[in-house]
Symmetry: C2
Subunit: 390 residues, 2 copies
C-alpha cells in the first residue's frame, strides 16, 4: 500500500499479526458465546461498583467550567505525585506528572519527547506488542534484545552491545508482560550501572522508560522496585486500566523521576504539555481527571487473581505444561505443546477456548494465558488444556 504515508504503513505492518488476530477474535469471541476467553486483558465480570459510582459522582457538574478544556490538571497531578511518591519513596512534585490517556498515550509521549527520526529504542523481547507500532509511526527505530532464556531477566550484556550513539531509550517493563517476572532491585541496579557508563561514554543520557501498568498487580507479597529508584534518567508510564480492569477508560500518566538533574526535569515537564497538545490533545477526559484521587484507592481483587493464577498454573504444570509462575501481571506464559503456538491455539479455539499465540509476541513456540477470565471460564477450559497436553 503506497497511496498513504510510509510511516502509517510501517506502523500497520508492525501491528499486522495482532490486527489479524484481533479481527478474528472480535468475530469469533466477542460476538459469540465461548467457553473461555484467555486472550487480552479485558474484563469478564461486571465492573467494580465503586468505579461506576465514582464516575457518576464526577460526571455531575459542580461549576460552569466542569467540561471546559483540561490539560494536566493540578488536583490529579497532586494526587498522583503523593500516591506514587509514597509507593516508590521518591519525592515527586505535581509538575513531574503528565496526565495522559492511559499508558499508551504516556509511552507515545515519552517517545516523542526524547526521540527524533532515526533515533533508537531498545525493547526486550518477548514484550508488549505495541511499542514497535508507536515507534514506526514516529519514524523512530525499535531495536529488539531477547530476554535471558531461563530467568526472563534482562540480558544486560546484550543490551550494552545493542547500544549505539543513536540509542535514546531502553524500555523496562516490570512486572513483565508476558512472563510475569518482577525484576529485583539488584538486577535493576546492575542495568543502571551499565547505562550510566554508556551515557558517560556518549556524553548524553540514555533514558529508561519504565512501563509499569502492572506495578500494583503482584502476588505472594513480592516487593517491587521501579527503575526510577535506582536510575535518575527514568520516566514512568502508568495506566489505571489494569488495576481497575477498565481499559476502555483512558487515563494514566507519565512521571518524571525526581532524582533527574533539574534542567532535564524542568524541560520534560514543560515540553510534555505542548507535546501532548501535538499528539492530539492527549489529556484524559475531564471526569477522569476529577476521579483520579478517588480511583487511586480502588483495585480489583488481587487475592482472587492470585487464586486463579494458582489454579491454572498448578493444573497445567501437573499435566506436563512448561509454564512460568508469574510474580505479577495478568498473565501465564509457557511452551505450546508440540512447539507450534498457532496449531495449539487453533486446536483449543475449536473447543471455544481462546489463548494468545506467541506469534504475537515474537515467540512462535510459546503462548500466553490471560487471567482476567472469570472463575467459571477457568474451570470450564481446564479439561481442554488437559486434552491437548503433550
Amino acid at each position: 500500500m503506497t497511496n498513504l504515508s510510509d510511516r502509517a504503513n510501517a506502523a500497520a505492518e508492525e501491528l499486522r499479526v495482532i490486527f489479524d488476530f484481533f479481527q478474528t477474535y472480535r468475530k469469533d469471541v466477542v460476538d459469540e458465546d465461548v467457553v473461555a476467553d484467555l486472550t487480552f486483558g479485558n474484563p469478564h465480570e461486571m465492573p467494580l461498583p465503586e468505579l461506576v459510582e465514582t464516575l457518576k459522582t464526577h460526571i455531575e457538574p459542580k461549576r460552569v467550567d466542569w467540561f471546559a478544556y483540561k490539560t494536566s490538571e493540578e488536583e490529579p497531578r497532586k494526587a498522583v505525585a503523593a500516591a506514587l511518591g509514597k509507593e516508590l519513596n521518591l519525592p515527586f512534585a505535581p509538575e513531574d506528572i503528565a496526565m495522559t490517556q492511559g499508558a499508551f498515550g504516556a509511552i507515545a509521549l515519552a517517545f516523542t519527547l526524547l526521540m527524533d527520526p532515526g533515533d533508537e529504542c531498545i525493547l526486550p523481547v518477548p514484550g508488549w506488542f505495541c511499542y514497535t507500532t508507536i515507534l514506526r509511526a514516529q519514524n523512530s527505530v525499535p531495536v529488539t534484545v531477547p530476554l535471558l532464556d531461563d530467568s526472563f531477566n534482562l540480558d544486560i550484556d546484550a543490551i550494552e552491545r545493542a547500544i549505539t550513539p543513536r540509542t535514546r531509550i531502553v524500555v523496562v517493563n516490570s512486572p513483565h508482560n508476558p512472563t510475569g517476572v518482577v525484576y529485583s532491585r539488584e538486577h535493576l541496579t546492575e542495568l543502571a550501572a551499565m547505562l550510566e557508563r554508556k551515557s558517560a561514554e556518549f556524553g548524553r543520557p540514555i533514558f529508561i522508560l519504565s512501563d509499569e501498568p502492572y506495578r500494583r498487580i503482584r502476588f505472594d507479597g513480592v516487593p517491587f522496585t521501579s527503575p526510577a529508584e535506582v536510575y535518575p534518567y527514568t520516566l514512568i508510564d502508568y495506566s489505571y486500566g489494569k488495576i481497575l480492569l477498565a481499559p476502555g477508560l483512558r487515563f494514566g500518566y507519565l512521571a518524571i523521576c525526581p532524582n533527574m538533574p533539574g534542567e532535564f526535569r524542568a524541560e520534560l515537564s514543560q515540553l510534555a504539555v505542548s507535546t501532548q497538545v501535538a499528539q492530539g490533545w492527549g489529556f484524559p477526559d475531564a471526569p477522569m481527571q476529577y476521579a483520579v484521587a478517588d480511583l487511586e484507592k480502588l483495585s480489583i481483587d488481587i487475592d482472587a487473581l492470585q487464586a486463579k493464577r494458582n489454579r491454572m498454573h498448578d493444573a497445567l504444570t501437573q499435566w506436563g505444561y512448561n509454564m512460568t509462575k508469574p510474580a505479577g501481571t495478568f498473565y501465564l506464559w509457557g511452551k505450546a505443546p508440540g512447539g507450534d503456538a498457532v496449531s495449539f491455539t487453533q486446536a483449543l479455539a475449536k473447543h471455544g477456548v481462546y489463548v494468545m499465540p506467541g506469534t504475537l509476541l515474537d515467540r512462535p513456540a510459546d503462548f500466553r494465558i490471560c487471567l482476567t477470565a472469570n472463575e467459571g471460564m477457568i474451570e470450564a477450559c481446564l479439561p481442554f488444556f488437559e486434552e491437548f497436553a503433550e
Copy 2:
C-alpha cells in the same frame, strides 16, 4: 533547549505564544473573578442537562465488557455515518468513520496517515493555532497562505503557487475560526478544480482536510457546503466539543469522503485503526462511544448564540470598531483600535475583560472575541469596549 528531541522543541516553539498566553490566562482568569472571559471556546454556563443525563446513562454498565478496550466501535460509526450522510447528502459507510478523541485527534490522525517527514501541508492564515504544532511534532512542514484581505475567502491562486511535489494536504476550515466565514459551494468548487488540476500534474492526489468542528454552528440560516461534496479526496474532522460546548470531553471523528476512489477509501479505513493505536490508543473513552448516537441530537442554543453575536457586533460597530459579522463559529474577528492587539487586549484586561490578541493567530493588528461568554459577561464588558474605541 537541546536535551530533548528537536521535534518536541519545534512543536513547543510553534505553541509558545499561545502557551504563554494560556499560562497568564489560567492565573488571571480561570482562578479569579473577572468581568468577562472572551478568550477560548470554553463554557461559561452550566452544561446542558441532557448531556449530563446521557453521560450518566452510558456510565451504567450493561455488560461485563462495558469498559473493555474500544477501538472505533460499530454502533457509533453507524450513528455518525447516518447523521453525517444526511447532513451532507453523501453515502458514508460505517467503515468511513474513525472515532477519535475530538477533532484534535482526528487532525493528528489525518496528518500521520497522509504525510511523511518533509511533506507539506498548506494552512490558510489567520487560522486555528495548533495545526503547526501537530505538524512539527510529526516532522512535517506547515506552509502558510494568507486568506484574501476583504472577503476572508481562500486565495486559490496563492494556494496554487504554494503547491509543490511535496504538498499532501490543504486544510480548509469552514465555518472559519477566527473570521466566522462560511465558504460558498461555488468557492469550494473553484478550489476543487484547481486541486484536481494540480493532482493530475503531479500524478498523485492532494487531499483536503476539511476541519468542520463548527459545521452546525451557523447563523441566519446560511447554508453549508463541505469540501467533501465537491472534491472526492477529502477527509472531514469533527468534534462534539463545540456543539455541546464541552471540550473537556474528548470525542469526535475523522470521516472519509465516500466519493473517494475505492482503493484510497479502503486503505484509509484500514490504516486508521493501526495509526490510532500508534497515536497512543487514540479512540474515545467507552462511555463516549456509547453516547454518540444520543449526543448527535443535542446542541447548545444557537439562537441565543446568534443573539449574543448581534448584540456584540452591533454595539462594537456603532462605536467605530471594524468587525466581521460571522456567519458561523463562536467568534467575532476585528481590527484592534490603535492597530496593536497586545496593547489593546492588555488595556481591556486591566478592567477584567479578556479577549484574544491576534498575535496568537499570526495577525498582530487584530483581535478575537469568543461568544461562549454568558450574557451577563457580554453586557458587563461593553462599556469597556466603548471606552477603548478609537
